[in-house]
Each structure stands twice: as C-alpha cells, then as structure tokens.
Symmetry: C2
Subunit: 333 residues, 2 copies
Amino acid sequence: MKKFINHLDNVLVESLSGFAAAHADSVTLHLDPHFITRKNKAVNKVAIISGGGSGHEPLHSGYIGVGMLDAACPGHVFTSPTPDQMLLAAEAAHADKGILFIVKNYAGDVMNFEMAAEMLPFESATVLTSDDCAVINSTYTNGRRGVAGTVIVEKCVGSLAETGANLQACKALGDKVNSRTASIGVALTSCIVPAAGRPTFNIDDNELEMGVGIHGEPGRRRETMREADAIVRDCVDAILTDFKTRNFEPNKHEALLLINGFGATPLMELYLIYNTAAKLCKQQGIQISRSLVGNYTTALDMAGASVTLCLLDDEIKQHWDSPVHTAGLRWGS
Amino acid sequence: MKKFINHLDNVLVESLSGFAAAHADSVTLHLDPHFITRKNKAVNKVAIISGGGSGHEPLHSGYIGVGMLDAACPGHVFTSPTPDQMLLAAEAAHADKGILFIVKNYAGDVMNFEMAAEMLPFESATVLTSDDCAVINSTYTNGRRGVAGTVIVEKCVGSLAETGANLQACKALGDKVNSRTASIGVALTSCIVPAAGRPTFNIDDNELEMGVGIHGEPGRRRETMREADAIVRDCVDAILTDFKTRNFEPNKHEALLLINGFGATPLMELYLIYNTAAKLCKQQGIQISRSLVGNYTTALDMAGASVTLCLLDDEIKQHWDSPVHTAGLRWGS
C-alpha cells in the first residue's frame, strides 16, 4: 500500500483538518466527536445534514455550504458515523425549522441516523437514498444502495431549504429526486482501505466488476474487460431497464447525466464515457439537459466510474440550477 | 492496461466530444485540427490561448470560459499540439487586442507555439510557465518545466484580460505570477499512456519519485516510501529553497497553496497533504491566504501529487479572487 498518510490512527483527523484549513472561510470543523458545519450558521431554515463513512470525498463534507448541506458527519473510512456525531451536528446546525437527514442506504448508517433521530430534541425527517440499480441487498445493505445520485438529492434539497420551505416539503423533494434517479458503477481495480493495507477484492487484469458498490462490494457479475462503448451500453441499459420497472418512461423527460469517477480514473476517460452515454440516451429519445462529469462520490483509489441518470421536472431543474457554494460543487452568485 | 477507451486512434476525439457535449452551454469544439473555444466569443480583449499535450485534464480545455481562457489547443496524449491548431484557435478567438499564448515550458510546445506566433496575422506575446523547481532541464525540457502553477497563471491573466487590459499588461502579469510560483511533484506510481499500453516507468512498491514531471519524467531522485509528513516536508523545503535562490523571502508574503492530485490520488490524501504543507508554511512565517486542493493538472492515472506555492501581492490576489466560469474552476457571479 502506497498512500500519503502518516499513522493509520490519524488519517481521518489529519485529512479533515486539511479540509477545514483549506476552506476556513466557509466551514468549521468540530473534533471528538467529528462533524463539520457551515462557518456562518443559517437562520430559519430546515437544517440539512448528511454523513457516512469517509473515503467518498468530496461526499459529504465537500457539499457543506450555502445551497446544499448545513453539516456533515464523517465516519472512519467506509464506516458509519455514530449517533453522537449526528446529535451534536444537529444541535449545532438547527435553525428553528427541524432537521433533515440525508442518508445513503447502508445498514450501519440507517441504524445510527435512526438512533440519532429518536434522541433529537427537534423535529426531524430522513431521506434515504437508494439510486444504485445494480443489486438489491448487498454486503452492507438491505435494499438498494445509495451512491452518486445522493449528490443530486443533496443539491436539490439544499436549494429548497434555502427558500425557507418546511421539513415535509424538503423530505418530499428528496424522496422525489431519489425516486427519479438510477445509477450503476463499474470497477476496473479495487480500492485499498488504509487500515486493511491491501485491496478489498481481487480482480484480474482482463476483468471488470459490473455493478460494483462504492466500498468495493460485489456487483452483478465479474466480466471480461471490453471496450468502453460496450461497458457504457450495459450501464445505460441497466438504468433504463430500472426506470421501466419503476414505471418511468425516460424518453418523456429531460435528464441529468452524471458520470462519476471513483477516484483513480482520469477525467479524459470520464468524458469519453460521457460521450458514449449521452449518445445512447439520445438514441433512446432522452434529452440530456444537465450534465456533471468528475469525481463526486469516490471509493478511495478505485479505478472505475458510475453512470447516473436523473429524470428532471421543472422543480428539480430549478433546484439543480440554483446557486451553490461548497468546496465540491460551486456555481451561481 | 485497463482503461475506458475504444480504439486507440479515437481516444482524444471521443473524450473532447464528451467534454464539449457536457459543457455545450459554454464551449465549442472544432475538429481537424482540434481546438476548443468559448461558445460566446469575447469582444475587445486580449485573447488568452493555451494548449499542450492531452492527459493533464482539466488543463487546459477545462479552463476555457469567462475569466480564464478564450481557447485551448489539445495535442494527443503527452504530445504537443501543432501550429495549425494554434493558428486556427487564434483566428477564432481574436478579439481585436492581440493574442497571448500561455505555454508550459516543454520543447515541443515552445517550438510549435513559436511557429504559430510567427505566422499569426495578429499581434501576439507568450508567457512561458516554468514553475517546477524539481530539476533544470529534463526529458522534454530545456530549463524548468511548467506544471500546476500554470493554472494560477491562466486564472490571473484571464482575469486581467477581461478588464480590457492590453497585451503587454497581460504578458507582464503572467510573467510575474510565474516568477512568484514554485512547484514540486511526487509520484507513487507511473501513469500509463494509452498508446504505449504499459507504465511509463517502473517503480517499486516501497519507492517514490521525488520531483517527478507531469509526463512521468524523472525527478530529483528515487526514494524509499516514507510517511506523508516527511515527503511533504521535502517538497516544501525544495520550494522555499527555490524562492530563496530567486531572492524572494516567502515569509514576507501571503501565499496561495495548491495541492494538486496527479489523477489517482484520493481527495482524502490531498487534504492530508494540505494539512501538513500549510502547517510547515505557517512555521516558516508564511501566511496561506488562498487555497486550492484537487485534480487541476493531472498526469493521466498517476498516483501522486504536487505542492505549489504562489507568493501573492494585491494584484495577484485581486485576479485570483475575481469571478471565473469554466468547467474546471468556477466561482463568483
């Protein structure tokens, strides 16, 4: 294992400290237990809080800021944060209109956020993201996994919360975005968790893992490495099949196409994937009117990428386009 | 070699096409010869044009847009673009106040941009970037190499050009930023150039290359892998020594600290590197008042990172902070 680390015990705190120092104008880091909040606390809005295991950066800490999250709770690498982190984050971020937790559907995260919600002295609700259409039930999951589509949920809900919308409206929008989003990922290599010091799974030089999870969990099947067009075609087919199962007709919607790198795949390849995926969508009559290409939900140093399609409506477009000011996603005034 | 590609001959065009499609609101792709321009051509300003071998994305195409570049000329992977690309880009982007080429100091790039400048029917000037303090003369270079500091040059010069400043002023600012910037990189793994299909260099599991170039060129020395703090200390020491050689006293300036990933290094590690580098700078009395952490000048799928320090003054700060609207760097209104 070759990584830029010092002692294994300090990886998370040193990385969080660097994040907080690099973005000292916009975030505040709290340690023991760890959570990160906006530097300038919002007033009179639903506080949007997310969290999960570290190693997926910029998710979630990188999405703290105006137009997106109020706070994030980073667990150790690929490990759920604990209820005390969530409780303290909620107390720090609460702005008189309740707390909305956005939680990727992994058993540990779900359990700990539920415990925190029960102990909270404030009104709260939870949006569970489950955009990964690769598999139902997985290593750490009952039901579908929450992956890169979570970024779209956090962006849209964060935008709505800034307007002063109430907790029920924010939860409803989050659930709607999640229900209209599907993702699937492909791994070319395993990631290496620092504490393990070796690859999470073995994969041959001529193989890929179709449907891999963002912790290196198994996907649908191990396949022989092929050209990008064939791989991307399988991803887009899986997503479109999933939408049909859920009674959506993708060609009746505009869509957001997100090509997400898992950490070690060059941007040059991600744009090549985008090129193929966008063409395939167009062939199916789907109008791609919003795009995002880059490393937005990573799996440490895994080589691979995921394709996400979100079926838009006017409300989702409005909240996707609205200004956002975070380390990982930034546009508008 | 496992990469998301189809036929080797088409990697560049397919990737550029994906880039142009994903950012269709802001850029226009021209093929044969290849160059990319802003979709909405600027008026009455110096046109800022960069270019170089592909594989360093988002450099340079990702920096086209208001506040930064007017056009970029992508060569094949790690290969200089040709004068016809530069000539056509200049003709397309020319906005009545001359052309400023920003060129990383590699022999092929320098020669081809010089040829283009000689053939141009417009007034032109060139800023050569040479921020890499690792080595003088290298595989592809006479003199110092231009690396991640080029992003800072492009940002500041692009900002000044938007104000209507003349060609001489833009060149002077570019030269000043370059003269106040120093970088050094470390590789943990080699990159793989698609056309070669194998690693550019061999490196053992317990080794790092200190001072590596962004094409995998040799650096100062091969070293035994160490903890991050020790590696980063050597990088910061090299940069501070370089500034002293150039008669700067870094502790008398505010500075911008850029931690740049080479393509396969997780953001979590880049922030850990930032944490150490910022502390070391502070110990030396240097006030880090601006920061940038992420993949901004990559080397395909190389695992590694570079440290860049730019000594600020009021003019550089103003132009760094000004709005920028590109795929790779975006802030302000």
